[in-house]
């Protein structure tokens, strides 16, 4: 179980991450993104319809025990992680769209996550003892919006400071995952050894499947390849540390450790899978951008 100090530290790191996320955009980026709101809506659909359903399917298909089902469904219902913005940036995706999706999905999550949790939890037969109180989720999300807005103001005021904060936030995104692993793994190595292949499959599979379905849902709904890649990363990359924070504030003792298993493993593996996918997307994006640029002269 995470100590009080560790939980506080996790909260502070989340604040810094959200500050960095805010600092990666300006209000104008928002306005531009809202000129094509379809992308954001498609992203939300993929985020809150496709992803939770995939999580539920995996949980049922693999016949996981209740605490793990809660962990998997929680991860699947989470809003987009801030690391998705870094990956979208490095994959030369539509950063504004990624940031918008992360922010909007974080806002919508206040309502959607509790609803989805109880819906899929009920469907999977999760008992009351494993239920996550909805007000916990809502509270945490509201608090994290404050640094986000501060970050935006910073970026508008000074691009040099804003971009620096953005970078610090990005590093923090990696630090927080290392922190989670360092504070959780030593206490649960036995659990890890007992963990079956099915669970590893679920934790790695949920991210990859999210990216795959996210891409094709977006393409199917008329998004161009660049936006579809962004939505793909956004769908697959969930806010793992937020799930951990929610769990630590909702459960205690052995139960906490068990529910934490999948979100923590997910947070570790998603960095690896996203890096691979990002490198691939980046190559495609560079090629397309140069071709588009070379062919910009549009006669009438």
């Amino acid at each position: 179980m995470l100590t009080e100090l560790e939980t506080t530290l996790l909260g502070v790191m989340m604040m810094i991450i959200m500050l960095g996320m805010g600092a990666s955009m300006t209000p104008r980026d928002f306005l531009i993104a809202f000129r094509k709101p379809k992308g954001i809506l498609v992203g939300l659909l993929s985020q809150f319809a496709v992803m939770p359903f995939l999580g539920f399917l995996l949980a049922v298909a693999l016949g996981l025990p209740a605490p793990l089902v809660v962990g998997l469904i929680l991860i699947a219902c989470m809003p987009g992680g801030t690391t998705s913005n870094i990956f979208a940036y490095f994959s030369k995706g539509v950063l504004a769209l990624s940031i918008m999706m992360t922010t909007v999905s974080t806002l919508v999550a206040v309502v959607m996550v509790p609803l989805l949790l109880s819906f899929y939890g009920g469907l999977a037969g999760v008992g009351a003892e494993n239920r996550i109180p909805p007000e916990n989720v809502a509270q945490i999300l509201v608090v994290l919006l404050v640094p986000t807005i501060l970050g935006m103001i910073l970026r508008k005021f000074s691009p040099n400071v804003g971009a620096t904060v953005e970078l610090i936030g990005s590093f923090m995104g990696v630090v927080v995952i290392l922190f989670l692993i360092a504070s959780w793994v030593p206490r649960n190595y036995q659990l890890l050894l007992d963990t079956g292949l099915a669970i590893y499959f679920a934790t790695i599979g949920i991210g990859l499947m999210g990216m795959l379905f996210g891409y094709w849902v977006a393409r199917g709904l008329g998004q161009d390849t660049n936006r579809a890649r962004t939505i793909s990363l956004e769908t697959g990359i969930q806010n793992g540390p937020l799930a951990v924070l929610v769990i630590t504030l909702s459960f205690t003792g052995q139960q906490q450790q068990e529910v934490l298993l999948i979100p923590i493993l997910y947070s570790l593996f998603i960095v690896l899978t996203s890096t691979a996918i990002t490198l691939w997307y980046r190559r495609n994006a560079t090629r397309e951008a140069l071709a588009r640029d070379a062919a910009k002269v549009q006669p009438t």
Partner: protein, 582 residues
């Protein structure tokens, strides 16, 4: 009358100057570019001269006073540590950034000659240019340091100075940009071991400062006719040659730019410099002219992809943009630009290549400001003609000759053509180069009796407005008829499925030459593009002999660094293709 006999020509365009453009140039206030830099830096000491913006919005700035002090230090370094003396050549191979003005102005203050070099040059091109110019010192962007291993041993370069894209940024942003270059984009290669001194610009400036020398003693004696730049140009005949531009050439052209635009320019202007400063257009217009009046240059290191310019336009009150057709078109196709065109924009200047009428019209609608098209050559520093900004501009025209300039249109025998007839445009004025460096024959073929033969065919319309018909040497001769590729290209560009087109001649047994069109499909157009449809379209709009006999559909066309379509590359392909066939 033969124009080259030295007869005094009339200037029918003076009437089109209106009230805002002076008929004659004022007397020259500066003796040299170094003198101009010193005067401007003193006069505008408290203001910001240059801001460099990288794609993520991170930026660094230099004020006029710092530019003065730093270029002094660089001049002292060149003189005392590199042995650079008056007239020596110093190559500067930098993308747009804060290092560029420091290096270029330092070269002028040392009394030396600036050899502008494209950072994207291959080692072969670099070796040619450094040897041809006899450059002694090279200032190069650290992103391209890997080329030094091959280049330096084959040239007379004695010292290399390295500068980065985020040079002179505040410390943390500089470290971040360099970190991204090094770790993520991997665009910072290690510096190869060389037998000559290699140092960073910062260290060079420190050494220069330590000498305590006042560079005025090196530039004070410069005369207007002393050489300021060797500006290399592929020109019309293959191998690149250095146009010799004197201090007076650039200073005069600067006055000519001001004569045409001063009524719309102020010292509070903010000019977007996305075109490379190593190119003569941005060098004279942005670096020198706007600097002189105390305006601020917003430098963009790389405008490709066009999105790289976004933060520069969003974060600064841009009042002027200099660009080429492809840049304006590219900007308008960006969502962020179309949604929020720059609010403070006064006007844009187009040059380098023909501005499409559709682009000019769309720009005027989108931004509410005009694009004024000008015309110039490397050999004329560059500006020859410009459209007046005060309402009299003519779309499709390159405008009227700038004050102090004579132009004439001549036929193959150097005789002036009849009014309204096409002829080769020849230019005489204080901006015309002294010749090509070490190439007397090519100089004699290009500058005759003070007249610069541009190789462009133009017509003069009422009021002295000029319209370029085409490059003389690009003309295709079909059964004795002249076909101007521009005319055929314009016709092709009207097909919605055609994005870009280029036209060249191919050998043809029956007609001597025939027209060939290279066409790029427009990915945004719904229809298909077929050779038959293209030829059918041309048949309905063009006389028979102008219709392409051969049509080739390509993914892209060869382009110059500033976005000009390179017909010469296509001609080279044709030559290779038909070698031995006829």
């Amino acid at each position: 009358m033969n124009r080259t006999d030295g007869a005094v020509p009339t200037r029918p365009w003076i009437d089109s100057y209106g009230t805002s453009i002076p008929a004659e140039l004022p007397p020259q206030a500066h003796r040299s570019l170094a003198h101009l830099v010193r005067t401007a830096c003193r006069q505008h000491a408290g203001k910001t001269a240059f801001t460099c913006v990288v794609p993520n919005g991170m930026n660094g700035s230099l004020g006029f006073a710092r530019v003065d002090a730093m270029s002094d230090a660089f001049a002292a370094f060149l003189h005392h540590h590199c042995g650079v003396r008056r007239g020596a050549r110093v190559a500067v191979q930098l993308p747009n950034g804060l290092a560029y003005p420091v290096a270029a102005f330092g070269v002028f203050k040392a009394g030396a000659v600036l050899v502008n070099t494209n950072p994207l040059y291959t080692p072969t091109e670099m070796i040619h240019q450094f040897n041809d110019s006899g450059a002694e010192v090279l200032v190069i962007c650290d992103m391209f340091a890997d080329k030094l291993a091959e280049v330096i041993p084959q040239t007379g370069i004695r010292t290399v100075v390295l500068a980065g894209v985020p040079e002179f940024f505040p410390r943390i942003p500089e470290a971040i940009v360099r970190g991204v270059q090094k770790v993520w984009s991997r665009t910072l290669p290690p510096v190869p071991p060389l037998d000559i001194p290699v140092l960073r610009l910062r260290d060079a400036l420190a050494k220069g400062r330590a000498t305590g020398a006042d560079p005025a003693e090196w530039w004070d004696g410069l005369r207007p006719d002393d050489l300021a730049l060797l500006q290399y140009t592929g020109g019309t005949t293959g191998v690149a040659k250095g146009a010799m531009l004197s201090h007076a050439n650039i200073l005069s052209n600067l006055q000519q730019v001001l004569a045409m635009g001063r009524s719309h320019m102020t010292g509070n202007d903010c000019v977007l410099t996305a075109l490379p400063l190593y190119h003569i257009f941005a060098f004279t217009a942005n670096l020198m002219t706007f600097f002189e009046i105390g305006a601020r240059n917003i430098l963009v290191p790389s405008p490709r992809p066009v999105q790289n310019i976004q933060r520069a336009i969003e974060n600064y009150p841009i009042t002027w943009i200099t660009g080429v057709n492809t840049l304006f078109n590219g900007l308008m196709n960006e969502e962020w630009f179309a949604a929020f065109p720059p609010k403070h924009l006064v006007a844009a200047i187009a040059g380098g290549t023909a501005l499409h009428r559709s682009v000019a019209t769309r720009w005027a609608v989108m931004t509410g400001t005009p694009i004024a098209e000008g015309y110039g050559l490397t050999e004329s520093s560059p500006l020859v003609s410009f459209n007046p900004l005060s309402g009299a501009a003519r779309p499709g025209s390159i405008g009227i000759p700038v004050p102090g300039t004579d132009v004439a249109l001549v036929d193959a025998d150097d005789a002036p053509v009849a009014d309204g007839e096409p002829g080769e445009l020849i230019v005489k004025g204080p901006q015309v180069m002294q010749g090509y460096w070490n190439r007397p024959e090519e100089t004699a073929a290009t500058v005759k009796g003070g007249w610069l033969y541009t190789g462009d065919v133009a017509v003069m319309e009422e009021g002295g407005f000029l319209r370029i018909v085409d490059r003389k040497k690009d003309m295709v001769l079909v059964s004795g008829f002249n076909v101007y590729p521009n005319e055929v290209e314009d016709c092709l560009a009207k097909i919605p499925e055609v994005l870009e087109a280029a036209v060249v001649g191919i050998p043809d047994g029956a007609s001597g030459e025939a027209v060939r069109a290279y066409v790029v499909r427009n990915p945004d157009a719904p229809g298909e593009l077929s050779r038959e449809a293209i030829i059918a379209h041309c048949r309905t709009h063009l006389t028979g002999y102008k219709v392409p006999k051969s049509v080739i559909i390509r993914d892209e066309l060869p382009k110059s660094p500033i976005g000009k379509i390179l017909r010469k590359d296509l001609k080279a392909e044709v030559k290779a293709e038909f070698a031995g066939k006829t």
